[in-house]
């Protein structure tokens, strides 16, 4: 517990330093005609729960970071999700290459608190999952294509590996690792100050992979729909809501679709904060897992 808190503090300090560094680099670059960070504010999205650029729950078609097609951008994030009976710590980073390809990494630590004890795993039993993501923008420009209905469209892969193979097998999951494949379409309706995203994800992941992949009830890939809307209040503030449909592969516990309502604040290009109220429904033996989602990120 103590070491856990220490590592979180170290992480926050690290993030702050990275923020300071990228700000310093950017202001140095500003004086000499900036070679990076020239994408418009908030148009790179934020880091979603699996580390890809998007909303909180859902990847968008945007390429993360503030690089334009001549530039490389990137960000790092820390997200904390507090639920009545669980909590999730989520860290990661991404690099966006030339507004075309995004490579991301995230580590999710899902702490089962007292539920772990009740299930005989021990209080505070934690599932750790690493996610490596690659996203490629196929066509479209989310900001500039204002005279057509054409959205920006990207496809991506998230490769996930969970560290609790034995427990996952015991609860009926078929694998401790898997790939999600998705296609996202994102459109900014600038006249309405409204951003809309739709994502179709092919997945076998149980609770996004925290409970493994495939199960006794179903072990086939299924298409799941995810959607986001965001309303831009100003250059620095956005509010919105998200929906994420999920499969139901395990016999031991029903899995619900996820919802959230969020507010995002980006005082500068280098720092953003996202706060959300998330409803994750049933997770194993606990109903109504609703709580606060907080995410801080630094970007360039």
């Amino acid at each position: 517990m103590q070491t856990h808190r220490k590592s979180r503090t170290a992480l926050l300090i690290g993030l702050a330093m990275a923020g300071g560094l990228s700000s310093a680099m950017a202001s140095a670059a500003d004086t000499g005609g900036s070679q990076f960070s020239n994408k418009l504010l908030l148009t790179g999205g934020v880091s979603q729960i699996e580390g890809s650029a998007g909303g909180g729950l859902t990847p968008w078609a945007v390429i993360g970071g503030y690089g334009t097609q001549d530039e490389i951008g990137g960000n790092a994030f820390y997200t904390r999700l507090n639920l009545p009976d669980y909590h999730l710590d989520d860290v990661g980073a991404l690099v966006g290459f030339y507004n075309r390809v995004e490579v991301s990494f995230a580590q999710q630590r899902f702490n089962t608190e007292q539920v772990g004890g009740a299930l005989g795993l021990g209080n505070g039993f934690t599932f750790t999952q690493n996610v490596i993501g690659v996203k490629v923008r196929l066509f479209g420009d989310v900001v500039l294509d204002q005279n057509s209905w054409m959205p920006q469209v990207s496809i991506g892969i998230q490769h996930k590996k969970n560290d609790q193979a034995a427990v996952l097998r015991f609860i009926g999951a078929k694998s401790d690792q898997g790939n999600d494949y998705y296609i996202s379409a994102t459109k900014l309706f600038l006249s309405q100050s409204l951003l809309v995203n739709a994502t179709l994800r092919y997945t076998k992941a149980n609770q996004i992979g925290i409970l493994g992949f495939g199960g006794d009830k179903n072990n086939a890939y299924k298409p799941e729909f995810e959607g986001s809307v965001a309303y831009l209040l100003s250059r620095n503030w956005a509010i919105g809501a998200e929906y994420r449909q999920k499969p139901n592969n395990l016999g031991i516990a029903k899995e619900d679709n996820w919802y959230d309502a969020f507010v995002a604040w980006a005082p500068t290009k280098h720092v953003s904060l996202t706060l959300a109220y998330a409803d994750l429904g049933n997770i194993v033996i606990k109903q109504k897992q609703r709580g606060m989602y907080a995410s801080v990120q630094v970007a360039f």
Partner: protein
């Protein structure tokens, strides 16, 4: 080995697709520029936005700050420091005024010919948008009204950005 063949195949397809899209985008550029009208068309629905900008008088004072920002910004300064800035401001006032259905006419060059030899890239274009946003915020123009104008200006990117 086979475990990764599907993702690899999907990626390879994606990269190929992306490259062909780039090629298409590049190929369609001259056509788009040629088709570009002198300015964005007048939109009667934006008449209320013209009022929110403070009419022609408001546009003229907005353009003073916009041009100051452009000259102060190292990313855009090279395009404006040796240009006839008063002339550019007047043309911009007319153009924005026409877009917002104000009582003006735009008689200047087409966007394509005005920007043909400037070698502006996407970063420079975005910098200009940021400088315009700053000026509009300074003039307390409501954010939604700002976005309605920007939505009409955004499609001009294909005529303005000539350096890929």
């Amino acid at each position: 080995m086979f475990k990764y063949s599907l993702p690899a195949a999907v990626l390879a397809t994606a990269v190929l697709f992306a490259q062909s899209t780039v090629a298409q985008e590049a190929a369609s550029m001259p056509q788009q520029s040629a088709a570009m009208a002198a300015s964005a068309p007048r939109d009667p629905a934006l008449k209320p936005v013209f009022t929110e900008f403070g009419g022609k008088q408001g546009l003229m004072s907005l353009m003073d700050d916009f041009m100051d920002n452009l000259v102060a910004d190292p990313r855009t300064r090279p395009y404006f420091e040796n240009a006839d800035r008063e002339h550019i401001k007047a043309e911009l006032v007319d153009q924005f005024c026409v877009i917002l259905d104000g009582p003006c006419t735009y008689t200047g060059k087409s966007m394509a010919s005005a920007h043909r030899n400037l070698g502006i890239n996407r970063a420079g274009f975005n910098a200009l948008v940021e400088d315009l946003q700053k000026a509009m915020s300074k003039h307390d123009i409501p954010f939604r009204a700002q976005n309605k104008l920007l939505a009409k200006l955004a499609p001009m990117h294909s005529a303005v950005i000539t350096k890929k």
